[in-house]
Symmetry: C2
C-alpha cells in the first residue's frame, strides 16, 4: 500500500458527495468504553411469543397465515400513512410538507431461528422475488415516488425481534440519501454518458483490491469511501436501474451474493453480525433515470469484536464520519474468512 | 397545533440543507427492543484509576498537573496528526487527500464526579474561556482551517470515561457538516444581506413555541427541524461569528445557558443524560465569513426513558432521519421540568 494511505487522509464518496476521514494508525487505541450484549442466537424454529412467526396473532388482533417462504403485511406502527395531507407549510425559515407513504414488514422465512446468513440461497431468492414484487406494486402507486427496502438486523441496530425480517418505507418524496445519489449519478451521466456506478465497478474489478465476491450477475466489494468499519456494497455487473430489470438468473446471483457476504460477516466475530442493509434504486416517479444503477449497502457497526462497535458520535455527527482502518484492510480481513458459516462447519 | 402537524410530514433544515421525517402518531408504539444500561453516577471526587483526574499518570507515562479548573492536553490516540502529507491522490473515481490536524482533550473540572449539568455556572464559564483560548490558538495555525469543539457525554455516546471532558479536532479541511452550514449560510447572506441564523432566531423568539431559555446573550431552543428526540440549539442574540467575539458578559451568559439546558436534560429521565454536543462557528481559513453565526448543537439519543434510545438505523441511514414526536412536543416536555437539578433538590 502507498505510504500516503498509512497517514490520516480523507476519501471522497462520489455517490453521496461526501467525505470520510480515515485514521489508519488509530486502530491501536485501547477500548475502555461501552461493550454491547453478545448476541445469543435464538434456537426456537417457531416461537409462540413472536408476532412474526407463522400462525401467530399480531398486536392488532390479526393472525399471520401459515406462510412457507415469505410473508408481507402493512406495518402495525407505520411511520408513514396514506392519509397525510399533500400540503406545504411555509413561514419564513420554517418549511414543512405533508409526507404520505406506506410501510410494510417482510418476513424472510417462517423459521424464527434463521437469518440471511444461515438461509439457503434458494430461500434468499424467494426474498429477492418478494422485494421485486413489492418494488413493482408500490412503485406504480401514483403517490409513491420512492421505495426504500431495508433490513435492520440485530438489537444493536434497533431491531426488536430476531425473526428474520425486513421493512419497506415507500414515500411520496425522495429521502435525503436517494436525492443525493440521484443528483450525483445524474451529473456524472450527463458529463460522461455512462452511469457512475458502472464506471466505478469497472475500476474496482480492474484493481481487485476491495472485491469480496463475484458471480455472473453481481459483485460484493468494500467501497473505497466506506464509512462503517466493515461496510460493503453489492453491485450488478450490467446496467440494472431497478430490481424488476433483473433476469431470473440475476435474481439468483443476487441471492448468492447476499448469502456470501452475510456468512463472512457472521464469521468475522463468530456472532450473528448486526447491520442495517438496504437497496438504493431508481425513484418510481415515472422518469427513466438512466443514470441510476441499483445497489445494496450493508452498514454494520461492529469494529473490534462481537461486542465493541464503532460510535458515530461527536466529531462524526458534527463534522465528518471517521474510521480507524482503511477499506483495503477491512476487505483483507473479510477475505481471510471461511466461505462456510461457522455454525454450519 | 395546526392539524397538519399531527400527520406525518417532513421539515426542512435550511442550515444543513436536509429534510427530517416527523411521525407524530408513532410515539405510541410499544418498545420491545434493546434497552441500554442505566447510568450509575460516579461518586468519587477523585478516582485514582482515572487518566483524566489531576495528578494521575496517563497511558503514555505523562503525569497530569494538579489542575484546579480546566486542563488541556494533546489526545494520546489522535485521529488527526500534524505530519499527514498535504497531497492529493486521484485515479478515476477514487479521490483522497492527506488530512492533517491536531486533536486535544479538555478536562472540564478536576472533580471526577461532576458533569456540566452539576457544575456551577462560574466553573462552566472557565470551560468557555478554555474553548475560546483553544479556538484562537489553533485557529491561527496556518494548516488549521477548522476547529471542531465537542463533547461526547456518557457511555451510550462512545465516551469511555465519566470524568467531565470534551475534545477538539482541528483540521486542515472543512468537515462535511461545516461545509454544508457554510454554503447554506453564505447563500442566504448573499440573497438577504443578513445571517440566516439571526433571521431564524428572530422568528423563533417572535413565535415562542420552541424556546427553552433566554438571557441577555443567548437563547436555547428546540430547532424546528430537530432530528434527535430532544435535540436543542444554543444561539447568540447578536451576530457573533466565532467564540472570541463574545464579550466577558456573553461568556457568562453562554455558561448559564449550558447549565440550564443540561440540568433540564438530566431532569427529563432523572439520569445523567447522554449526548454529543459541539460548537459550529466560522472556519479559521483567514476569511471574514460574515455569513456565519456561532452556535452549539446538543444531539441526545434518549427517547422514552433513561434506557430506551432512538435508533438511527435502516431508514435513517439509507433514507432520511426520522423522529416520533414533534419539536414542539419535545420543547413542551423539556419546559415542564424543574430548573433545579434533581440531585441538588
Ligand atoms: O476519542 P474517543 O473518546 O476515544 O472516541 C469517541 O469519540 C470519537 C469522536 O467523536 C469517535 O470517533 C469514537 O468513535 C468515539 O468512541
Ligand atoms: O420499525 P422498527 O423496527 O420498530 O424500528 C426500527 O427501524 C426504524 C427504521 O429504520 C427506526 O426508525 C427505529 O428507530 C428502529 O428502532
Amino acid at each position: 500500500m502507498n505510504a500516503f494511505f498509512e497517514h490520516p487522509h480523507r476519501r471522497y464518496n462520489p455517490l453521496a458527495g461526501e467525505w470520510v476521514l480515515v485514521s489508519p494508525h488509530r486502530a491501536k487505541r485501547p477500548w475502555q468504553g461501552q461493550v454491547e450484549d453478545a448476541v445469543v442466537p435464538d434456537m426456537l424454529a417457531h416461537d409462540p411469543e413472536c408476532y412474526l412467526c407463522a400462525g401467530n396473532t399480531r398486536i392488532n388482533g390479526e393472525k399471520n397465515p401459515d406462510y412457507e417462504s415469505t410473508f408481507v403485511f402493512d406495518n402495525d406502527f407505520a411511520a408513514l400513512t396514506e392519509d397525510a395531507p399533500n400540503e406545504r407549510f411555509e413561514d419564513g425559515l420554517l418549511l414543512a410538507e405533508g409526507e404520505s407513504g406506506i410501510c410494510r414488514v417482510i418476513c424472510f422465512s417462517p423459521r424464527h431461528d434463521l437469518t440471511l446468513a444461515r438461509m439457503a440461497v434458494a430461500d434468499i431468492a424467494k426474498v429477492v422475488d418478494t422485494w421485486v414484487a413489492q418494488y413493482e406494486e408500490l412503485g406504480v402507486h401514483p403517490d409513491i415516488n420512492h421505495v426504500q427496502i431495508f433490513e435492520n438486523r440485530g438489537a444493536m441496530m434497533g431491531c426488536s425481534n430476531p425473526h428474520p425480517h425486513g421493512q419497506i418505507w415507500a414515500s411520496r418524496s425522495l429521502p435525503n440519501e436517494a436525492a443525493k445519489e440521484t443528483e450525483n449519478q445524474r451529473a456524472y451521466y450527463e458529463k460522461h454518458g455512462r452511469p457512475l456506478l458502472m464506471a466505478y465497478l469497472e475500476q474496482e474489478l480492474a484493481l481487485g483490491e476491495r472485491i469480496l465476491f463475484e458471480n455472473d450477475g453481481f459483485v460484493v466489494l468494500v467501497p473505497y469511501w466506506a464509512v462503517w468499519p466493515f461496510e460493503t456494497m453489492v453491485l450488478p455487473k450490467r446496467h440494472i436501474r431497478s430490481m424488476e430489470e433483473m433476469t431470473e438468473a440475476e435474481r439468483n446471483d443476487l441471492a448468492e451474493a447476499l448469502s456470501k457476504i452475510t456468512i463472512r460477516y457472521d464469521n468475522l466475530f463468530k456472532t450473528s453480525f448486526p447491520y442495517s442493509m438496504g437497496f438504493h434504486q431508481r425513484p418510481t416517479d415515472g422518469h427513466d433515470h438512466d443514470e441510476w444503477v441499483m445497489h445494496a449497502h450493508f452498514l454494520p457497526p461492529l469494529l473490534r469484536s462481537a461486542t465493541v462497535k464503532k460510535f458515530m458520535v461527536g466529531f462524526e455527527l458534527l463534522g465528518s464520519p471517521q474510521r480507524d482502518l482503511t477499506a483495503e484492510q477491512a476487505a483483507q480481513r473479510l477475505l481471510e474468512l471461511s466461505e462456510k458459516h461457522y455454525l454450519n462447519d
